[in-house]
Symmetry: C2
Subunit: 237 residues, 2 copies
DNA sequence: TGATGTGAAGTTCTTCACAGCG
DNA sequence: CGCTGTGAAGAACTTCACATCA
């Protein structure tokens, strides 16, 4: 998704001297947008693309695109643009997409099922290898091409499928305890859709997506756009 | 959801002199987090809360919380903290949640159905008033407490339900054309889950959520965390 | 006393503007 | 000539540190 990046930074705790250069967070999220455009261009046989065109399709400025791409090295051709196939490869490499990612989805409710069948994962290199739930009625049933596993066997499932990413699609009430078990099972990358703040150790990556939060942010902008004269009586201004 | 802020800012086109004070985008997204915590505290009967506690539950610094809240005015009590009920009300007001939001969901596939039944919308003041799809097999069926409408009647449905927000949960291929019709129908706030860049007029608010993008961002961080020695052979450093 | 509120400093990200090069 | 690559300027956001006040 493309929430606006907007994940508040977690408090930094370990100033570990990472050897590799790190990309600005904002750049990383835009790189995923460029990559999508590049892959579409690749499919239609385009050879090269300008920073202007990439900017257009990502909704940012062209200088921003060039700056982002410059972090990866100088792969453009002056007077021409970027070679689509080459740039696509470089970005995929920078994002770590050459690694094999196996995703386990915990929670086979409406959202979990939607995610399990979401074509966008497969097509972008993420292999959904397991779907788990606590509901005995669901365990053992088939959803898409997966059989639902018992969340009680989480550790075994993670281990046997060698899942290295987990998506949490479950109620707020149980999210933290399941999250703890996922971490204990050795998974260090977690995407949570539970509408609650989760705490994880510093060496675990956690991203959060909350649909209701997105609507609230929309509401804020809508209210401003519409003149803010509809429902309140603020003094001043 | 809470993607990390990650919506790249759209290019500004109209330097309209809005009379009302506007909040920093980063502040708006954190306010939704504070609001969630406040409502939980309210439910358990807490009277007041400190910036430190709010910071803890949102994963940010306490100075950051105080600065954010100061944009809304001075509603804290020095030496004590913030009155939970009062602050909750102020934030809701600032976010425009006192307005009545009626949401139409376009696309009754897996994701659309999950969203239609997502309890988080109702509980946070967003009323799901319609669910539409192009598939004749789905039109007329009941999902949750809604009957699926034909997307061919989009304009009529928007008008009769007075929907003022739309969630797009449909394939990339048809997203832009449906989006155009939604805009033409007068809706100015759109949340899209389609994995494609949409273009809308400047007076329309569009937010995007892409699950695969979130996983890609996780992949980037995971790769760095794990030492980046697994799959590539970059020169230098 | 103790936590808020806030100028000022610091940091990060974006935009500008143009040199550089195919 | 045209578009990339990039230092420098600018804007936005975060953090600090402490005056302020219930």
């Amino acid at each position: 998704m493309w929430s606006s990046d907007v994940n508040p930074a977690q408090p930094v705790e370990e100033p570990v001297a990472e050897p590799a250069r790190q990309l600005p967070a904002a750049t990383v999220s835009r790189l995923t947008l460029y990559l999508r455009t590049l892959n579409a261009l690749l499919a239609e046989g385009a050879e090269s693309v300008s920073s202007e065109a990439l900017a257009e399709s990502a909704g940012v400025g062209s200088a921003n695109v060039r700056k982002d791409l410059s972090y990866l090295g100088s792969y453009g051709i002056r007077g021409v643009g970027y070679e689509v196939a080459n740039l696509s490869r470089k970005i995929a490499q920078a994002l770590g997409l050459t690694h094999e990612w196996r995703v386990a989805i915990v929670g086979a409710g409406n959202l979990g099922r939607a995610l399990a069948r979401y074509a966008g994962f497969e097509s972008r290199g993420f292999d959904v290898v397991a779907l788990l739930d606590a509901d005995e009625m669901l365990v053992g049933t088939e959803i898409g091409w997966l059989r639902v596993s018992d969340v009680g066997n989480l550790e075994k499932v993670v281990s046997s499928t060698r899942a290295n990413m987990v998506v949490l699609a479950l109620p707020a009430a149980v999210a933290q305890s399941v999250c703890d078990r996922v971490v204990a099972a050795g998974v260090r990358s977690i995407l949570s859709f539970a509408p609650v703040a989760l705490s994880v150790p510093g060496n675990v990556n956690l991203r959060k997506v909350d649909m209701a939060t997105e609507l609230q942010i929309l509401a804020y902008h809508a209210q401003r756009l519409q003149g803010a004269h509809l429902d309140e009586d603020l003094p001043g201004v």
